[in-house]
C-alpha cells in the first residue's frame, strides 16, 4: 500500500498542515499517512509514527537529522515525503532527496493525483507562473509552503502505531553547530504569520512615515513590512523586507502603501488573500495584483484611514 510520510518538526501547526495536505490526496492514492518524529516524542493524528529517538536529536542539527530521516525512510519506504518549506525544510528536503536519489519539488502550494502519480504544483518566475511536476523516481520529496494547506484537526492519533527507528548516530557526523542566536524582538505578530500586514515602499520617501505604519499595525494587530527599495535605502531593517528576497507573507489583508509592485515584491505576497494598494501612480503594477485600490498620495489617505479604522474597531 502507498505511503505518504510527513516530517514533523517542532512547529505543531506546520505538521498539521502537512497532514492536511497528505490527507487531501491519500484516499485517491490509496495511501497511509504516517509521520517521522526526531527527538522528543509527539502525538500526531496519523496511522504510524516513526520515532527516531536519541539525545543527539534533541536539538536540531541538520546532518544528524538527515541521518535519522534517511533511516526512517529506509524503514517506511514512502512514495511521497512532505516537509514544511521553512528554514529546516529548505535544507533537509533537497539533501534528503539527493541521499535517496529521489526527485524533489520545493515550495509547493498544491498537490493532485494524475495517472496514479502525485503532481506537485509550485510558483515559479517570481510567482508569475505555476509549474506542475510529476516524479520521475519512485519516491518524491516535497517541501510545502507554510499557510497554504488546510490543516488537519488538532486531535490525538486514534490507534496510532509508534515504531522505534534503529539509528547509528555520532556527534562527529554534525559538520555545523550554532554558536549564537540573534532573534528579532518585535512587538506584535511575525510578518510570516501575521493576518494583517501594513507595508511601505519607496513612495513613503524616508524612514519617518514608517512610524505611522507601525501605529496602524498596532491598532489592527498586524505586522509592518517594507519593499526591497525601502530596505536597501536603509529606512527600515532588512528583516522587514517582504518579497521573494525577503519574507513571504500570507495575510488575509495586505495594505501596500507607496509600493510600485516590482515582480520580486509581488512574489512575496502571492499568498496574500486581499491586497489593498495606495499609490499616487495609477499605472503602478501593484494595481494589477490588488483587489482594492486607492489612487492618491498616501499622505492624504493614511491619517483618515487610521482614524476610521480606529472608530470601526472601537479602540
Amino acid at each position: 500500500m502507498a505511503e505518504i510520510l510527513i516530517v514533523a518538526g517542532q512547529n505543531r501547526k506546520a505538521a498539521l498542515e502537512l497532514i492536511g495536505a497528505a490527507r487531501g490526496i491519500a484516499e485517491t492514492l490509496g495511501a497511509r499517512v504516517t509521520a517521522a518524529v526526531c527527538g522528543a516524542a509527539q502525538d500526531l493524528p496519523v496511522q504510524t509514527i516513526y520515532h527516531a529517538e536519541s539525545p543527539l536529536l534533541n536539538a536540531y542539527q541538520p546532518d544528524l537529522y538527515l541521518a535519522a530521516l534517511t533511516a526512517v525512510v529506509k524503514q517506511a519506504a514512502p512514495d511521497l515525503i512532505l516537509l514544511a518549506h521553512d528554514a529546516q525544510g529548505q535544507e533537509l528536503g533537497p539533501r534528503l532527496a539527493a541521499r535517496l536519489g529521489a526527485g524533489c519539488v520545493t515550495d509547493c502550494i498544491g498537490f493532485e493525483v494524475k495517472d496514479g502519480k502525485v503532481l506537485a504544483r509550485k510558483p515559479v518566475f517570481g510567482g508569475k507562473a505555476v509549474a506542475g511536476y510529476l516524479p520521475g523516481s519512485a519516491t518524491l520529496v516535497a517541501t510545502v509552503r507554510p499557510r497554504t494547506q488546510a490543516p488537519a484537526a488538532d486531535e490525538p492519533g486514534v490507534g496510532t502505531e509508534v515504531m522505534p527507528v534503529a539509528l547509528t548516530l555520532s556527534e562527529s557526523m554534525g559538520l555545523t553547530r550554532v554558536v549564537d542566536q540573534i532573534r528579532e524582538v518585535a512587538a506584535g505578530p511575525k510578518l510570516e504569520e501575521a493576518r494583517i500586514v501594513i507595508s511601505g515602499g519607496r513612495g513613503l520617501g524616508g524612514p519617518e512615515p514608517f512610524a505611522e505604519l507601525q501605529r496602524f499595525a498596532e491598532l489592527v494587530g498586524g505586522a509592518v513590512g517594507a519593499s526591497r527599495a525601502a530596505c536597501d535605502a536603509g529606512w527600515v531593517p532588512s528583516s522587514w523586507q517582504v518579497g521573494q528576497t525577503g519574507k513571504m507573507v500570507a495575510p488575509d489583508l495586505y495594505i501596500a502603501i507607496g509600493i510600485s509592485g516590482a515582480s520580486q515584491h509581488l512574489a512575496g505576497i502571492s499568498s496574500a488573500k486581499n491586497v489593498i494598494a495606495i499609490n499616487k501612480d495609477a499605472e503602478a503594477p501593484i494595481f494589477k495584483r490588488a483587489t482594492l485600490g486607492v489612487v492618491a498620495d498616501y499622505k492624504t489617505v493614511l491619517p483618515t484611514l487610521i482614524d476610521q479604522c480606529r472608530q470601526i474597531l472601537g479602540r
Binding site: 528554514a87 539527493a98 526527485g103 520521475g136 542566536q181 482594492l292
Partner: protein
Amino acid sequence: MKIAVCIKQILDPEVAPKDFKIDAAAKLPIRGQAKMVLSSFDENALETAIQLKESNGAKVAAVCLGPKEADEALRRALAMTADEAIRIDAPIDQDAQSLAAALAEAIKGAGPVDLVLVGRQAGDWDRGQVGPMLAEALGYACVTASFQPELKGDKLQVRHEVEGGVDVVEVTLPAVVAITNHGSNVPRIPKVKDTMMAMRKPIAVVAAPAAGAPLVIREELSIPQQDGECEIIPGDDGPAKAAALAERLKDLKLL
C-alpha cells in the same frame, strides 16, 4: 584558499506580469524582448566571494552551466574580479540533481576548492535545490540561506536566516554555503577597466557528465488567472477615498 561561485543566467525576472507569456505546450516561458541576466542571489554570492578575496587573498572561480550566451554572466563575474571562469557546456533546463552533478564535476576539476558559494535560489524556477544537492554530491558540509561569512581558521562562521532571526553557524570546511541578500553583500558595480579586461580573459569550457533520467518532470506550466480587476475606490479627495476604503474593509470583515 579557493572559492568556487556557481552562477546562473536567467530570463530577466523584472519582466512585468503583463509582458510575461508562456508556451504552455513546451512548458517554458517565451523570451520575447526580455534580457538574460545574472540571477540576483548569484550576484550576492559573487560579491561575498570577492569580499573574501579582498580580506583573505582567496582565489575565486566562477562556474556557470549553460549555452554560449551564458558567457555574458561569466564576463560579469570576471569584471567583478573573479580570477577564473568556467562554463559547463550543457542545456540549462535540467532537474536540480543533474545540475548539481555537473557542477560538482567541474568544481572537482578546478580544485581543491574549500568553499562553494551559490545563490540561495535562482530567479526563474525558484527551486533552491542545487546548493544543498551540490553539498551532497561533493560530500561537503552545507549551510543554506546565509550571509556575512567570516573565516576562523579551518572553520567558517556564517549568519544563517531562520524564522525569527539569524543563527550564527560555525561550519567545518570544505562547505557549500547558499547566499541570501543582505546589506553586506549588495553586488558592486564593476569598474570600467575591469569590465574591459574581463572581455579579454579566457573562459574555460568543460563538458557535463551524461545526465541520467530526470528525477522530476515538468508536466504543466500555467499563468494563474487574476481574480477580476482591481476595484478603484472613488472619492473627491484622499480623505474621502480613505473613508470609503475603511467601509469596504469593514464590509469584507478584514479588520
